[in-house]
Symmetry: C2
Subunit: 222 residues, 2 copies
Amino acid sequence: MEEYSIKAFVFDVYGTLFDVHSVVNKCDEFFGGKGTEISKTWREKQLEYSYLRQLMGNYDTFYSITRDALRYAVKKHDEQLDKLSEEELLTAYIHLSTYPEVKDILVQLQDKKVAVFSNGSHDMLDPLIKKSEICDLFDEIISVDEIRQFKPTFPSYDHVAKILEVKPKEVLFMSSNGWDISGAKNYGFQTAWINRQNLPIEELNLEPNIVYQDLTSILEWK
Amino acid sequence: MEEYSIKAFVFDVYGTLFDVHSVVNKCDEFFGGKGTEISKTWREKQLEYSYLRQLMGNYDTFYSITRDALRYAVKKHDEQLDKLSEEELLTAYIHLSTYPEVKDILVQLQDKKVAVFSNGSHDMLDPLIKKSEICDLFDEIISVDEIRQFKPTFPSYDHVAKILEVKPKEVLFMSSNGWDISGAKNYGFQTAWINRQNLPIEELNLEPNIVYQDLTSILEWK
């Protein structure tokens, strides 16, 4: 671990603080045996559409992108989706549970700046956090939507540093997404990859400062 | 079909003119039962790394990205890769076959401007085309590497229009990749999606002008 004084602990949301597995369950409920496949395509397309829209200069909110990705996924697997089902599936994104260690860790960081930083737009993000057991534990809820720049662009992470009024190296950024860690490292944040799925490090020449299996050990950065 | 005078026919390469299935076969040869999975991850990561590097402002050639994606894919599926195997697998990308209808179609377009436009760098692209039966049928072999802007960015397609000295609407762009068609449409090309895999249209509000199952019917744009 490198020696830096960390002033702000910044967390990605989906898959990092909140377990998205209940979205998979919801897909199973609607699509039976195809639920797992559909939710996998849904997640892949959700990410891909955020990349593609950013690359084409066609920004749209993560909520819209999540809806569009769902529509694609359902079509790809030859299923039907009516308005009501679509709404119920999308609503799954605001009823997620935090991972078991999350609340305790956040409580112990209250003498530092603590923020979330997500591709999610506030229409998804705010209700999710408000309903959760960690609603009072953040100084800032930061969305890329405020500047219409999806992660992993440089300006997206720069937005966080500006809001928190810290230097890049004073931020420990945590995400379970390898690509998000690459982007944060590329910008200049300290990075802890929360490798919950035990995946290889991305081959992008931007290795995380440290890799943990869950958030428990991030306290050694205090 | 809309009425335009098409002056240039521009083709994507991998999956559009050339069948990449032999890459899958090569993976099967090296990794047995895991070949299909590894080649799937390889292709996904190849695309993802091109998007991510462009978004982060960390351009690298498609050859390097293809190598990095292969390394990731092999690690993900708990296999080993030595230098020699890596080279042999990468070489598969310069020994691809064209789809059955390709040569005949290209021959019939010789009174128009005909070009390829690929994310592939010239170190991959030139040997592939040179070895193929269609090597003499193009006016231009255009790579994003010339301007270090991967598809689907706006400047990448703009580079093609500039080289061919045509207006965007005078180009018919053909690709089997939905995201590539979205990018070309976003730029202003006429687009024919060669939907060889029978996939749904991407949910990006950029529908192709027309969809074909293979290249045969593009002659109606002459």
